[in-house]
Protein backbone atom coordinates (compact mmCIF):
# COMPACT_ATOMS: atom_id res chain seq x y z
CA UNK A 1 0.00 0.00 0.00
CA UNK A 2 1.10 3.49 -0.73
CA UNK A 3 0.39 5.14 2.55
CA UNK A 4 3.29 7.47 2.50
CA UNK A 5 2.65 8.86 -0.95
CA UNK A 6 -1.00 9.37 -0.12
CA UNK A 7 -0.11 11.51 2.83
CA UNK A 8 2.26 13.52 0.80
CA UNK A 9 -0.20 14.16 -1.93
CA UNK A 10 -2.86 15.08 0.56
CA UNK A 11 -0.61 17.72 1.95
CA UNK A 12 0.24 18.90 -1.52
CA UNK A 13 -3.40 19.01 -2.41
CA UNK A 14 -4.12 21.55 0.25
CA UNK A 15 -1.42 23.75 -1.09
CA UNK A 16 -2.33 23.87 -4.76
CA UNK A 17 -5.58 25.20 -6.07
CA UNK A 18 -8.09 22.39 -6.29
CA UNK A 19 -9.10 21.13 -9.69
CA UNK A 20 -12.68 20.63 -8.68
CA UNK A 21 -14.12 22.22 -5.62
CA UNK A 22 -17.54 22.08 -4.11
CA UNK A 23 -18.28 24.80 -1.61
CA UNK A 24 -20.98 24.51 0.92
CA UNK A 25 -23.75 23.30 -1.35
CA UNK A 26 -27.24 22.74 -0.17
CA UNK A 27 -29.67 20.71 -2.26
CA UNK A 28 -33.41 20.43 -1.99
CA UNK A 29 -35.51 17.92 -3.88
CA UNK A 30 -39.09 18.65 -4.82
CA UNK A 31 -38.93 21.99 -3.02
CA UNK A 32 -39.22 20.30 0.35
CA UNK A 33 -36.73 17.50 0.86
CA UNK A 34 -33.42 18.88 2.08
CA UNK A 35 -30.75 16.41 1.15
CA UNK A 36 -27.36 18.11 1.18
CA UNK A 37 -26.83 20.39 4.12
CA UNK A 38 -23.72 22.25 3.15
CA UNK A 39 -21.24 19.88 1.57
CA UNK A 40 -17.75 21.05 0.70
CA UNK A 41 -15.05 18.98 -0.91
CA UNK A 42 -12.05 19.34 -3.16
CA UNK A 43 -10.43 17.22 -5.78
CA UNK A 44 -6.87 18.18 -6.61
CA UNK A 45 -5.66 17.70 -10.13
CA UNK A 46 -4.53 14.19 -10.96
CA UNK A 47 -5.85 12.71 -7.76
CA UNK A 48 -8.38 10.08 -6.91
CA UNK A 49 -10.84 11.12 -4.26
CA UNK A 50 -13.32 8.73 -2.71
CA UNK A 51 -16.70 9.80 -1.43
CA UNK A 52 -17.97 7.35 1.13
CA UNK A 53 -21.09 7.04 3.16
CA UNK A 54 -24.09 4.96 3.97
CA UNK A 55 -27.14 4.55 1.78
CA UNK A 56 -28.92 7.80 1.38
CA UNK A 57 -26.09 9.90 2.69
CA UNK A 58 -26.19 12.01 -0.44
CA UNK A 59 -23.26 10.76 -2.47
CA UNK A 60 -25.13 10.47 -5.72
CA UNK A 61 -26.76 13.79 -5.10
CA UNK A 62 -23.37 15.40 -4.63
CA UNK A 63 -22.11 13.98 -7.88
CA UNK A 64 -25.23 15.05 -9.71
CA UNK A 65 -24.86 18.52 -8.28
CA UNK A 66 -21.40 18.75 -9.75
CA UNK A 67 -22.43 17.49 -13.15
CA UNK A 68 -25.57 19.66 -13.07
CA UNK A 69 -27.73 16.66 -13.78
CA UNK A 70 -29.79 17.53 -10.75
CA UNK A 71 -32.09 19.81 -12.68
CA UNK A 72 -33.70 16.91 -14.43
CA UNK A 73 -34.67 15.36 -11.13
CA UNK A 74 -36.43 18.32 -9.65
CA UNK A 75 -33.57 19.06 -7.36
CA UNK A 76 -32.43 22.61 -6.67
CA UNK A 77 -29.09 23.84 -5.51
CA UNK A 78 -30.13 26.50 -3.07
CA UNK A 79 -26.75 27.43 -1.72
CA UNK A 80 -23.11 27.12 -2.48
CA UNK A 81 -21.08 26.87 -5.63
CA UNK A 82 -19.06 24.44 -7.67
CA UNK A 83 -15.86 25.36 -9.44
CA UNK A 84 -13.95 23.34 -11.95
CA UNK A 85 -10.52 24.42 -13.16
CA UNK A 86 -11.06 27.63 -11.26
CA UNK A 87 -14.28 28.49 -13.02
CA UNK A 88 -17.77 28.41 -11.67
CA UNK A 89 -19.65 25.66 -13.39
CA UNK A 90 -22.93 25.34 -11.56
CA UNK A 91 -24.79 27.24 -14.25
CA UNK A 92 -23.37 25.32 -17.16
CA UNK A 93 -25.15 22.62 -19.07
CA UNK A 94 -23.86 19.07 -18.75
CA UNK A 95 -22.78 19.26 -22.36
CA UNK A 96 -20.48 22.18 -21.68
CA UNK A 97 -19.09 20.36 -18.68
CA UNK A 98 -18.30 17.28 -20.71
CA UNK A 99 -16.62 19.48 -23.26
CA UNK A 100 -14.49 20.94 -20.50
CA UNK A 101 -13.48 17.43 -19.60
CA UNK A 102 -15.78 16.50 -16.75
CA UNK A 103 -17.87 13.44 -17.29
CA UNK A 104 -20.07 11.36 -15.05
CA UNK A 105 -20.87 7.69 -14.86
CA UNK A 106 -24.31 7.58 -13.38
CA UNK A 107 -25.47 5.26 -10.71
CA UNK A 108 -27.69 2.48 -12.00
CA UNK A 109 -26.00 2.20 -15.37
CA UNK A 110 -28.36 4.18 -17.56
CA UNK A 111 -27.35 2.63 -20.83
CA UNK A 112 -29.31 3.50 -23.94
CA UNK A 113 -31.34 0.34 -24.08
CA UNK A 114 -32.21 0.40 -27.75
CA UNK A 115 -28.74 1.16 -28.96
CA UNK A 116 -26.21 -1.57 -29.35
CA UNK A 117 -23.25 -1.72 -27.00
CA UNK A 118 -21.02 -0.27 -29.67
CA UNK A 119 -23.42 2.55 -30.45
CA UNK A 120 -23.62 3.26 -26.74
CA UNK A 121 -19.88 3.61 -26.63
CA UNK A 122 -19.85 5.80 -29.71
CA UNK A 123 -22.37 8.22 -28.22
CA UNK A 124 -19.87 8.66 -25.44
CA UNK A 125 -17.56 10.32 -27.94
CA UNK A 126 -20.22 12.78 -28.99
CA UNK A 127 -18.46 15.85 -27.72
CA UNK A 128 -15.20 15.00 -29.41
CA UNK A 129 -14.68 15.62 -33.03
CA UNK A 130 -12.51 12.68 -33.78
CA UNK A 131 -11.52 11.11 -36.99
CA UNK A 132 -12.77 7.65 -37.75
CA UNK A 133 -9.42 6.17 -36.92
CA UNK A 134 -9.19 7.91 -33.59
CA UNK A 135 -12.68 6.78 -32.78
CA UNK A 136 -11.76 3.22 -33.62
CA UNK A 137 -8.76 3.54 -31.41
CA UNK A 138 -10.74 4.77 -28.44
CA UNK A 139 -13.19 1.99 -29.03
CA UNK A 140 -10.46 -0.60 -29.12
CA UNK A 141 -9.09 0.76 -25.91
CA UNK A 142 -12.42 0.28 -24.17
CA UNK A 143 -12.72 -3.19 -25.62
CA UNK A 144 -9.26 -3.86 -24.36
CA UNK A 145 -10.30 -2.89 -20.87
CA UNK A 146 -13.56 -4.82 -21.09
CA UNK A 147 -13.19 -7.76 -23.43
CA UNK A 148 -16.66 -8.92 -22.42
CA UNK A 149 -18.10 -5.89 -24.19
CA UNK A 150 -16.44 -6.82 -27.41
CA UNK A 151 -18.24 -10.13 -27.55
CA UNK A 152 -21.56 -8.37 -26.98
CA UNK A 153 -20.89 -5.33 -29.17
CA UNK A 154 -23.85 -5.84 -31.47
CA UNK A 155 -26.40 -6.65 -28.77
CA UNK A 156 -28.86 -4.00 -27.74
CA UNK A 157 -27.70 -2.75 -24.38
CA UNK A 158 -31.12 -3.33 -22.88
CA UNK A 159 -30.66 -7.05 -23.28
CA UNK A 160 -27.27 -7.39 -21.71
CA UNK A 161 -26.61 -8.47 -18.17
CA UNK A 162 -26.31 -6.05 -15.30
CA UNK A 163 -22.55 -6.22 -15.18
CA UNK A 164 -22.19 -5.81 -18.91
CA UNK A 165 -24.29 -2.68 -18.70
CA UNK A 166 -22.12 -1.32 -15.94
CA UNK A 167 -19.03 -1.90 -18.05
CA UNK A 168 -20.76 -0.26 -20.95
CA UNK A 169 -21.58 2.80 -18.86
CA UNK A 170 -18.00 3.14 -17.69
CA UNK A 171 -16.62 2.52 -21.15
CA UNK A 172 -18.96 5.10 -22.57
CA UNK A 173 -17.67 7.84 -20.33
CA UNK A 174 -14.07 6.91 -21.12
CA UNK A 175 -14.85 7.51 -24.77
CA UNK A 176 -15.10 11.23 -24.07
CA UNK A 177 -11.46 11.22 -22.93
CA UNK A 178 -12.30 13.34 -19.91
CA UNK A 179 -9.78 14.90 -17.60
CA UNK A 180 -12.01 14.34 -14.62
CA UNK A 181 -14.48 11.53 -14.08
CA UNK A 182 -17.23 11.31 -11.51
CA UNK A 183 -17.82 7.64 -10.87
CA UNK A 184 -20.95 6.62 -9.03
CA UNK A 185 -20.64 3.14 -7.60
CA UNK A 186 -18.60 1.63 -10.38
CA UNK A 187 -18.25 -1.68 -8.63
CA UNK A 188 -21.93 -2.32 -8.17
CA UNK A 189 -22.95 -5.64 -9.66
CA UNK A 190 -19.51 -6.36 -11.00
CA UNK A 191 -17.64 -9.56 -10.44
CA UNK A 192 -14.74 -9.12 -7.99
CA UNK A 193 -12.09 -9.74 -10.60
CA UNK A 194 -13.48 -7.04 -12.80
CA UNK A 195 -13.84 -4.71 -9.84
CA UNK A 196 -10.13 -4.94 -9.37
CA UNK A 197 -9.70 -4.37 -13.05
CA UNK A 198 -11.91 -1.33 -13.03
CA UNK A 199 -9.96 0.20 -10.21
CA UNK A 200 -6.85 -0.82 -12.05
CA UNK A 201 -8.09 1.15 -15.01
CA UNK A 202 -8.82 4.08 -12.76
CA UNK A 203 -5.34 4.00 -11.39
CA UNK A 204 -3.92 3.52 -14.85
CA UNK A 205 -5.73 6.49 -16.35
CA UNK A 206 -4.82 8.49 -13.32
CA UNK A 207 -1.17 7.69 -13.60
CA UNK A 208 -0.75 7.71 -17.36
CA UNK A 209 -3.17 10.38 -18.46
CA UNK A 210 -3.41 12.39 -15.30
CA UNK A 211 -7.18 11.96 -15.11
CA UNK A 212 -8.71 12.98 -11.79
CA UNK A 213 -11.45 10.95 -10.20
CA UNK A 214 -14.19 11.53 -7.71
CA UNK A 215 -15.75 8.24 -6.89
CA UNK A 216 -18.72 7.46 -4.78
CA UNK A 217 -18.31 3.94 -3.60
CA UNK A 218 -19.76 1.51 -1.14
CA UNK A 219 -16.93 -0.89 -1.48
CA UNK A 220 -14.96 1.12 1.01
CA UNK A 221 -12.12 -1.28 1.27
CA UNK A 222 -11.21 -1.19 -2.39
CA UNK A 223 -12.00 2.47 -2.73
CA UNK A 224 -9.64 3.49 0.04
CA UNK A 225 -6.99 1.22 -1.33
CA UNK A 226 -6.92 3.07 -4.63
CA UNK A 227 -7.88 6.59 -3.57
CA UNK A 228 -5.57 9.34 -2.47
CA UNK A 229 -8.07 11.17 -0.40
CA UNK A 230 -11.45 10.43 1.09
CA UNK A 231 -14.54 12.14 2.38
CA UNK A 232 -17.19 10.52 4.47
CA UNK A 233 -20.71 11.75 4.09
CA UNK A 234 -23.46 11.19 6.59
CA UNK A 235 -26.94 12.60 6.33
CA UNK A 236 -25.96 15.21 3.82
CA UNK A 237 -22.92 16.45 5.69
CA UNK A 238 -19.24 15.73 5.45
CA UNK A 239 -18.37 14.14 8.75
CA UNK A 240 -14.82 13.11 8.15
CA UNK A 241 -12.15 13.75 5.62
CA UNK A 242 -8.54 12.94 5.22
CA UNK A 243 -5.94 11.03 3.31
CA UNK A 244 -7.18 7.62 2.27
CA UNK A 245 -4.62 5.84 4.33
CA UNK A 246 -5.56 7.80 7.42
CA UNK A 247 -9.15 6.96 6.94
CA UNK A 248 -8.39 3.33 6.37
CA UNK A 249 -6.67 3.25 9.68
CA UNK A 250 -9.27 5.15 11.58
CA UNK A 251 -10.96 2.95 14.14
CA UNK A 252 -14.44 4.20 13.46
CA UNK A 253 -14.08 3.82 9.75
CA UNK A 254 -12.68 0.39 10.25
CA UNK A 255 -15.61 -0.67 12.30
CA UNK A 256 -18.41 0.90 10.37
CA UNK A 257 -17.18 0.92 6.82
CA UNK A 258 -14.69 -1.83 6.60
CA UNK A 259 -16.45 -4.29 8.86
CA UNK A 260 -13.38 -4.82 10.95
CA UNK A 261 -13.63 -4.42 14.67
CA UNK A 262 -10.63 -4.85 16.77
CA UNK A 263 -9.60 -8.31 15.80
CA UNK A 264 -9.74 -8.12 12.04
CA UNK A 265 -12.56 -9.17 9.77
CA UNK A 266 -15.51 -11.08 11.12
CA UNK A 267 -17.52 -13.61 9.22
CA UNK A 268 -20.86 -12.40 8.00
CA UNK A 269 -22.39 -15.44 9.58
CA UNK A 270 -21.17 -14.42 12.98
CA UNK A 271 -22.72 -11.02 13.11
CA UNK A 272 -25.01 -11.67 15.95
CA UNK A 273 -26.78 -8.42 16.50
CA UNK A 274 -28.39 -5.92 14.31
CA UNK A 275 -25.97 -3.15 14.28
CA UNK A 276 -27.15 0.25 15.26
CA UNK A 277 -25.46 2.70 13.05
CA UNK A 278 -23.31 5.18 14.78
CA UNK A 279 -23.76 8.72 13.63
CA UNK A 280 -20.97 11.14 14.09
CA UNK A 281 -23.07 14.18 14.09
CA UNK A 282 -26.63 13.11 14.53
Amino acid sequence: MNTATAQETAAAANAVQPYLSVNNVEVIYDHVILVLKGVSLQVPQGKIVALLGANGAGKSTTLKTISTLLRGERGDVTKGEVTFKGERVDQLTPNELVKRGLSQVMEGRHCFGHLTIEENLLTGAYTRSQSRAELRESLEKVYHYFPRLKTRRTSQAGYTSGGEQQMCAIGRSLMARPSMILLDEPSMGIAPQIVEEIFGIVKDLNAKENVSFLLAEQNTMVALRYADFGYILENGRVVMEGAASDLANNEDVKEFYLGMSGAGRKSFRDMKFYRRRKRWLA
Partner: protein
Protein backbone atom coordinates in the same frame (compact mmCIF):
# COMPACT_ATOMS: atom_id res chain seq x y z
CA UNK B 1 -56.33 26.85 12.45
CA UNK B 2 -52.76 25.93 11.80
CA UNK B 3 -52.15 22.80 9.87
CA UNK B 4 -50.42 20.53 12.32
CA UNK B 5 -50.65 16.88 12.98
CA UNK B 6 -48.90 16.93 16.28
CA UNK B 7 -50.89 15.32 18.98
CA UNK B 8 -52.69 13.09 16.54
CA UNK B 9 -51.42 9.64 17.23
CA UNK B 10 -52.56 6.68 15.31
CA UNK B 11 -53.12 3.87 17.67
CA UNK B 12 -54.35 1.23 15.29
CA UNK B 13 -53.73 0.24 11.72
CA UNK B 14 -57.38 0.90 11.17
CA UNK B 15 -57.07 4.59 11.90
CA UNK B 16 -53.84 4.77 10.00
CA UNK B 17 -55.55 3.20 7.03
CA UNK B 18 -58.18 5.89 6.97
CA UNK B 19 -58.70 7.81 3.79
CA UNK B 20 -57.52 11.02 5.38
CA UNK B 21 -55.41 10.31 8.39
CA UNK B 22 -54.98 13.95 9.34
CA UNK B 23 -57.80 15.53 11.23
CA UNK B 24 -57.65 18.88 9.49
CA UNK B 25 -57.96 17.20 6.12
CA UNK B 26 -60.92 15.26 7.33
CA UNK B 27 -62.75 18.25 8.63
CA UNK B 28 -62.00 20.08 5.41
CA UNK B 29 -63.48 17.30 3.32
CA UNK B 30 -66.58 17.03 5.43
CA UNK B 31 -66.91 20.78 5.44
CA UNK B 32 -66.70 20.89 1.66
CA UNK B 33 -69.22 18.12 1.30
CA UNK B 34 -71.59 19.74 3.74
CA UNK B 35 -71.41 23.03 1.91
CA UNK B 36 -71.82 21.30 -1.42
CA UNK B 37 -74.85 19.40 -0.27
CA UNK B 38 -76.57 21.71 2.16
CA UNK B 39 -75.66 25.20 1.11
CA UNK B 40 -74.96 25.25 -2.59
CA UNK B 41 -78.27 23.88 -3.84
CA UNK B 42 -79.98 26.83 -2.20
CA UNK B 43 -77.36 29.49 -2.40
CA UNK B 44 -75.88 28.97 -5.86
CA UNK B 45 -77.50 30.57 -8.85
CA UNK B 46 -79.06 28.34 -11.49
CA UNK B 47 -76.20 29.38 -13.74
CA UNK B 48 -73.66 28.16 -11.22
CA UNK B 49 -75.53 24.93 -10.76
CA UNK B 50 -76.43 23.99 -14.27
CA UNK B 51 -73.55 25.43 -16.24
CA UNK B 52 -70.64 25.06 -13.87
CA UNK B 53 -71.22 22.69 -11.02
CA UNK B 54 -73.12 19.95 -12.81
CA UNK B 55 -70.70 19.65 -15.71
CA UNK B 56 -67.81 19.99 -13.30
CA UNK B 57 -69.06 17.03 -11.29
CA UNK B 58 -69.83 14.96 -14.36
CA UNK B 59 -66.45 15.63 -15.86
CA UNK B 60 -64.85 14.80 -12.53
CA UNK B 61 -66.59 11.47 -12.61
CA UNK B 62 -65.42 10.75 -16.13
CA UNK B 63 -61.94 11.86 -15.16
CA UNK B 64 -62.12 9.52 -12.21
CA UNK B 65 -62.92 6.73 -14.61
CA UNK B 66 -60.06 7.60 -16.90
CA UNK B 67 -57.71 8.08 -13.99
CA UNK B 68 -58.44 4.58 -12.76
CA UNK B 69 -57.40 3.28 -16.13
CA UNK B 70 -54.59 5.64 -16.98
CA UNK B 71 -53.41 6.96 -13.67
CA UNK B 72 -53.68 3.82 -11.61
CA UNK B 73 -53.48 0.98 -14.09
CA UNK B 74 -51.18 2.81 -16.47
CA UNK B 75 -53.15 2.15 -19.65
CA UNK B 76 -53.27 5.34 -21.64
CA UNK B 77 -56.65 5.68 -23.31
CA UNK B 78 -58.14 8.13 -25.75
CA UNK B 79 -61.51 6.46 -25.93
CA UNK B 80 -63.16 7.91 -22.83
CA UNK B 81 -65.93 9.67 -24.68
CA UNK B 82 -66.85 6.44 -26.44
CA UNK B 83 -67.46 4.74 -23.12
CA UNK B 84 -69.47 7.72 -22.01
CA UNK B 85 -71.53 7.42 -25.17
CA UNK B 86 -72.16 3.75 -24.52
CA UNK B 87 -73.33 4.58 -21.01
CA UNK B 88 -75.63 7.31 -22.22
CA UNK B 89 -77.19 5.48 -25.13
CA UNK B 90 -77.52 2.27 -23.16
CA UNK B 91 -79.25 4.05 -20.28
CA UNK B 92 -81.54 5.74 -22.76
CA UNK B 93 -82.47 2.40 -24.25
CA UNK B 94 -83.01 0.74 -20.90
CA UNK B 95 -85.40 3.47 -19.85
CA UNK B 96 -87.09 3.38 -23.22
CA UNK B 97 -87.49 -0.33 -23.50
CA UNK B 98 -88.10 -1.44 -19.95
CA UNK B 99 -91.05 0.60 -18.78
CA UNK B 100 -90.89 1.61 -15.17
CA UNK B 101 -87.24 0.83 -14.69
CA UNK B 102 -85.79 2.94 -11.86
CA UNK B 103 -83.56 5.53 -13.43
CA UNK B 104 -80.62 4.83 -11.14
CA UNK B 105 -80.78 1.20 -12.15
CA UNK B 106 -80.75 2.30 -15.76
CA UNK B 107 -77.60 4.31 -15.06
CA UNK B 108 -75.99 1.32 -13.45
CA UNK B 109 -76.97 -0.88 -16.37
CA UNK B 110 -75.67 1.78 -18.73
CA UNK B 111 -72.42 1.74 -16.80
CA UNK B 112 -72.28 -2.03 -17.00
CA UNK B 113 -72.82 -1.94 -20.74
CA UNK B 114 -69.94 0.47 -21.00
CA UNK B 115 -67.92 -1.90 -18.85
CA UNK B 116 -68.59 -4.73 -21.28
CA UNK B 117 -67.50 -2.62 -24.19
CA UNK B 118 -64.51 -1.57 -22.12
CA UNK B 119 -63.50 -5.17 -21.56
CA UNK B 120 -63.80 -5.94 -25.25
CA UNK B 121 -61.63 -3.01 -26.22
CA UNK B 122 -59.31 -3.61 -23.31
CA UNK B 123 -58.26 -6.99 -24.63
CA UNK B 124 -55.55 -5.59 -26.89
CA UNK B 125 -53.93 -3.97 -23.86
CA UNK B 126 -52.59 -7.36 -22.97
CA UNK B 127 -50.13 -7.02 -25.78
CA UNK B 128 -49.97 -3.37 -26.66
CA UNK B 129 -48.49 -0.71 -24.46
CA UNK B 130 -47.96 2.99 -24.08
CA UNK B 131 -48.71 5.35 -26.90
CA UNK B 132 -49.33 2.44 -29.20
CA UNK B 133 -52.22 1.49 -26.99
CA UNK B 134 -53.37 5.07 -26.74
CA UNK B 135 -53.52 5.43 -30.48
CA UNK B 136 -55.21 2.07 -30.76
CA UNK B 137 -57.92 3.10 -28.30
CA UNK B 138 -58.93 5.69 -30.84
CA UNK B 139 -60.45 2.72 -32.63
CA UNK B 140 -62.96 2.55 -29.79
CA UNK B 141 -63.68 6.21 -30.09
CA UNK B 142 -64.44 6.15 -33.79
CA UNK B 143 -66.05 2.75 -33.89
CA UNK B 144 -68.54 3.38 -31.11
CA UNK B 145 -69.64 6.72 -32.49
CA UNK B 146 -69.93 5.16 -35.92
CA UNK B 147 -72.10 2.36 -34.54
CA UNK B 148 -74.35 4.82 -32.82
CA UNK B 149 -74.90 6.72 -36.05
CA UNK B 150 -75.36 3.58 -38.09
CA UNK B 151 -77.55 1.37 -35.94
CA UNK B 152 -80.95 2.98 -35.90
CA UNK B 153 -82.27 0.79 -33.13
CA UNK B 154 -79.87 2.35 -30.65
CA UNK B 155 -81.30 5.79 -31.22
CA UNK B 156 -84.86 4.57 -31.51
CA UNK B 157 -84.79 5.28 -35.24
CA UNK B 158 -84.73 9.01 -34.84
CA UNK B 159 -84.08 10.47 -38.25
CA UNK B 160 -80.86 12.17 -37.30
CA UNK B 161 -79.56 9.83 -34.63
CA UNK B 162 -80.33 12.28 -31.88
CA UNK B 163 -81.73 11.06 -28.61
CA UNK B 164 -83.67 12.95 -26.05
CA UNK B 165 -82.90 11.79 -22.57
CA UNK B 166 -85.94 10.97 -20.54
CA UNK B 167 -86.90 12.87 -17.43
CA UNK B 168 -85.18 11.81 -14.25
CA UNK B 169 -87.65 10.59 -11.69
CA UNK B 170 -86.82 8.73 -8.53
CA UNK B 171 -89.61 7.42 -6.33
CA UNK B 172 -92.01 9.81 -7.92
CA UNK B 173 -89.83 12.85 -7.35
CA UNK B 174 -88.91 14.59 -10.57
CA UNK B 175 -85.39 15.94 -10.70
CA UNK B 176 -86.02 18.76 -13.10
CA UNK B 177 -84.65 21.88 -11.50
CA UNK B 178 -80.94 22.62 -11.69
CA UNK B 179 -80.69 22.30 -7.91
CA UNK B 180 -82.33 18.89 -7.86
CA UNK B 181 -80.19 17.62 -10.72
CA UNK B 182 -77.15 18.99 -9.01
CA UNK B 183 -77.91 17.19 -5.77
CA UNK B 184 -78.45 13.93 -7.63
CA UNK B 185 -75.21 14.28 -9.56
CA UNK B 186 -73.34 15.27 -6.44
CA UNK B 187 -74.54 12.23 -4.55
CA UNK B 188 -73.71 9.88 -7.39
CA UNK B 189 -70.28 11.38 -7.80
CA UNK B 190 -69.54 11.45 -4.09
CA UNK B 191 -70.48 7.83 -3.65
CA UNK B 192 -68.52 6.74 -6.69
CA UNK B 193 -65.50 8.77 -5.64
CA UNK B 194 -65.61 7.08 -2.26
CA UNK B 195 -65.77 3.68 -3.90
CA UNK B 196 -62.89 4.59 -6.14
CA UNK B 197 -60.84 5.72 -3.19
CA UNK B 198 -61.56 2.44 -1.45
CA UNK B 199 -60.53 0.51 -4.49
CA UNK B 200 -57.27 2.29 -4.94
CA UNK B 201 -56.26 1.88 -1.34
CA UNK B 202 -56.96 -1.82 -1.19
CA UNK B 203 -55.61 -4.77 -3.06
CA UNK B 204 -57.27 -4.01 -6.42
CA UNK B 205 -55.73 -0.59 -6.44
CA UNK B 206 -52.35 -1.95 -5.59
CA UNK B 207 -52.62 -4.50 -8.34
CA UNK B 208 -53.36 -1.72 -10.80
CA UNK B 209 -50.49 0.40 -9.66
CA UNK B 210 -48.17 -2.57 -9.71
CA UNK B 211 -49.10 -3.30 -13.29
CA UNK B 212 -48.64 0.34 -14.13
CA UNK B 213 -45.24 0.69 -12.55
CA UNK B 214 -43.72 -2.55 -13.75
CA UNK B 215 -45.88 -5.20 -15.23
CA UNK B 216 -43.26 -7.93 -15.40
CA UNK B 217 -42.54 -7.59 -11.71
CA UNK B 218 -46.23 -7.54 -10.95
CA UNK B 219 -46.61 -10.82 -12.73
CA UNK B 220 -43.75 -12.33 -10.79
CA UNK B 221 -45.36 -11.31 -7.56
CA UNK B 222 -48.53 -13.09 -8.52
CA UNK B 223 -50.83 -10.51 -10.06
CA UNK B 224 -52.52 -11.77 -13.16
CA UNK B 225 -52.02 -9.24 -15.86
CA UNK B 226 -55.08 -10.11 -17.86
CA UNK B 227 -57.43 -9.97 -14.96
CA UNK B 228 -55.96 -6.82 -13.53
CA UNK B 229 -55.94 -4.92 -16.78
CA UNK B 230 -59.39 -6.00 -17.83
CA UNK B 231 -60.77 -5.17 -14.41
CA UNK B 232 -59.26 -1.73 -14.75
CA UNK B 233 -60.86 -1.34 -18.15
CA UNK B 234 -64.19 -2.54 -16.82
CA UNK B 235 -64.23 -0.32 -13.76
CA UNK B 236 -62.97 2.65 -15.67
CA UNK B 237 -65.55 2.21 -18.40
CA UNK B 238 -68.24 1.76 -15.81
CA UNK B 239 -67.37 5.12 -14.32
CA UNK B 240 -67.21 6.74 -17.72
CA UNK B 241 -70.48 5.11 -18.68
CA UNK B 242 -72.28 6.52 -15.68
CA UNK B 243 -70.69 9.88 -16.33
CA UNK B 244 -71.87 9.69 -19.92
CA UNK B 245 -75.39 8.88 -18.82
CA UNK B 246 -75.39 11.82 -16.44
CA UNK B 247 -73.97 14.00 -19.20
CA UNK B 248 -77.01 13.17 -21.31
CA UNK B 249 -79.67 12.95 -18.63
CA UNK B 250 -78.69 15.60 -16.12
CA UNK B 251 -76.81 18.02 -18.29
CA UNK B 252 -77.43 18.24 -22.01
CA UNK B 253 -80.81 16.56 -22.30
CA UNK B 254 -80.78 16.09 -26.04
CA UNK B 255 -77.63 14.57 -27.48
CA UNK B 256 -76.31 13.29 -30.73
CA UNK B 257 -73.58 10.67 -30.90
CA UNK B 258 -71.23 13.44 -32.02
CA UNK B 259 -71.50 14.98 -28.57
CA UNK B 260 -69.19 12.18 -27.44
CA UNK B 261 -66.47 12.99 -29.89
CA UNK B 262 -62.75 12.77 -29.70
CA UNK B 263 -62.54 16.28 -28.39
CA UNK B 264 -64.40 15.22 -25.27
CA UNK B 265 -62.01 12.31 -24.80
CA UNK B 266 -59.13 14.70 -24.98
CA UNK B 267 -60.70 17.14 -22.57
CA UNK B 268 -60.98 14.43 -20.01
CA UNK B 269 -57.44 13.36 -20.60
CA UNK B 270 -56.34 16.95 -20.06
CA UNK B 271 -58.19 16.95 -16.79
CA UNK B 272 -56.34 14.02 -15.33
CA UNK B 273 -52.96 15.16 -16.51
CA UNK B 274 -53.43 18.67 -15.25
CA UNK B 275 -55.06 17.46 -12.06
CA UNK B 276 -52.67 14.68 -11.36
CA UNK B 277 -52.30 11.25 -12.87
CA UNK B 278 -52.99 8.68 -10.20
CA UNK B 279 -54.80 10.88 -7.76
CA UNK B 280 -58.48 10.98 -6.87
CA UNK B 281 -58.32 14.56 -5.74
CA UNK B 282 -56.55 15.36 -8.98
CA UNK B 283 -59.62 14.40 -10.98
CA UNK B 284 -61.63 17.08 -9.26
CA UNK B 285 -58.91 19.69 -9.47
CA UNK B 286 -58.29 18.92 -13.12
CA UNK B 287 -61.96 19.03 -14.00
CA UNK B 288 -62.29 22.34 -12.22
CA UNK B 289 -59.30 23.70 -14.09
CA UNK B 290 -60.50 22.65 -17.51
CA UNK B 291 -64.10 23.68 -16.90
CA UNK B 292 -63.42 26.95 -15.16
CA UNK B 293 -60.35 28.31 -16.85
CA UNK B 294 -61.92 28.95 -20.27
CA UNK B 295 -64.89 30.57 -18.57
CA UNK B 296 -62.63 32.71 -16.50
CA UNK B 297 -60.52 33.68 -19.49
CA UNK B 298 -63.63 34.45 -21.46
CA UNK B 299 -64.97 36.73 -18.77
CA UNK B 300 -61.59 38.35 -18.43
CA UNK B 301 -61.26 38.92 -22.16
CA UNK B 302 -64.66 40.56 -22.18
CA UNK B 303 -63.81 42.85 -19.36
CA UNK B 304 -60.76 43.97 -21.29
CA UNK B 305 -63.04 44.89 -24.18
CA UNK B 306 -60.83 43.32 -26.80
CA UNK B 307 -62.23 42.68 -30.25
CA UNK B 308 -63.87 39.29 -29.99
CA UNK B 309 -61.83 37.44 -32.55
CA UNK B 310 -58.61 38.63 -30.95
CA UNK B 311 -59.99 37.77 -27.54
CA UNK B 312 -60.97 34.28 -28.60
CA UNK B 313 -57.58 33.51 -30.00
CA UNK B 314 -55.83 35.00 -27.02
CA UNK B 315 -57.99 32.87 -24.77
CA UNK B 316 -56.86 29.80 -26.59
CA UNK B 317 -53.22 30.83 -26.39
CA UNK B 318 -53.37 31.67 -22.71
CA UNK B 319 -55.12 28.38 -22.04
CA UNK B 320 -52.37 26.48 -23.82
CA UNK B 321 -49.66 28.51 -22.14
CA UNK B 322 -51.15 27.92 -18.71
CA UNK B 323 -51.23 24.18 -19.27
CA UNK B 324 -47.56 24.30 -20.09
CA UNK B 325 -46.85 26.58 -17.19
CA UNK B 326 -48.51 24.27 -14.69
CA UNK B 327 -46.72 21.26 -16.10
CA UNK B 328 -43.42 23.00 -15.71
CA UNK B 329 -44.18 24.09 -12.18
CA UNK B 330 -45.38 20.64 -11.27
CA UNK B 331 -45.32 17.81 -13.78
CA UNK B 332 -47.33 15.64 -11.47
CA UNK B 333 -50.30 17.90 -11.59
CA UNK B 334 -52.30 20.13 -9.33
CA UNK B 335 -52.84 17.37 -6.81
CA UNK B 336 -49.11 17.18 -6.19
CA UNK B 337 -48.89 20.93 -5.99
CA UNK B 338 -51.56 20.81 -3.35
CA UNK B 339 -49.68 18.13 -1.49
CA UNK B 340 -46.42 20.04 -1.60
CA UNK B 341 -48.30 23.06 -0.37
CA UNK B 342 -49.53 21.03 2.55
CA UNK B 343 -46.09 19.68 3.31
CA UNK B 344 -44.74 23.20 3.35
CA UNK B 345 -47.54 24.23 5.62
CA UNK B 346 -46.69 21.38 7.93
CA UNK B 347 -43.12 22.56 8.20
CA UNK B 348 -44.07 26.19 8.44
CA UNK B 349 -42.48 28.49 9.52
CA UNK B 350 -39.34 26.53 8.72
CA UNK B 351 -38.57 26.21 5.04
CA UNK B 352 -37.48 22.57 5.26
Amino acid sequence: MIYRETGQFKTSYETDGQILPIRQDRSMLFGTLAVALLVLPFAASPYMLSAILIPFLIFSLAALGLNILTGYAGQLSLGTAAFMAVGAFASYNFVLRIPGIPILLAFVLGGLSAALVGIAFGLPSLRIRGFYLAAATLATQFFVVWCLTKIGWLTNYSASGVITAQKIEILGYAFDTPAAKYVLVLLVVAVMALLAKNMVRSNVGRSWMAVRDMDVAAEVIGFRLMRTKLLAFAVSSFYCGVAGALYAFAYLGTVEPEAYNLELSFRILFMIIIGGVGSILGCFLGAAFIVLLPVFLNVLAHSLALPTSVASNLELMVFGALIIFFLIVEPHGLARLWQIGKEKLRLWPFPH
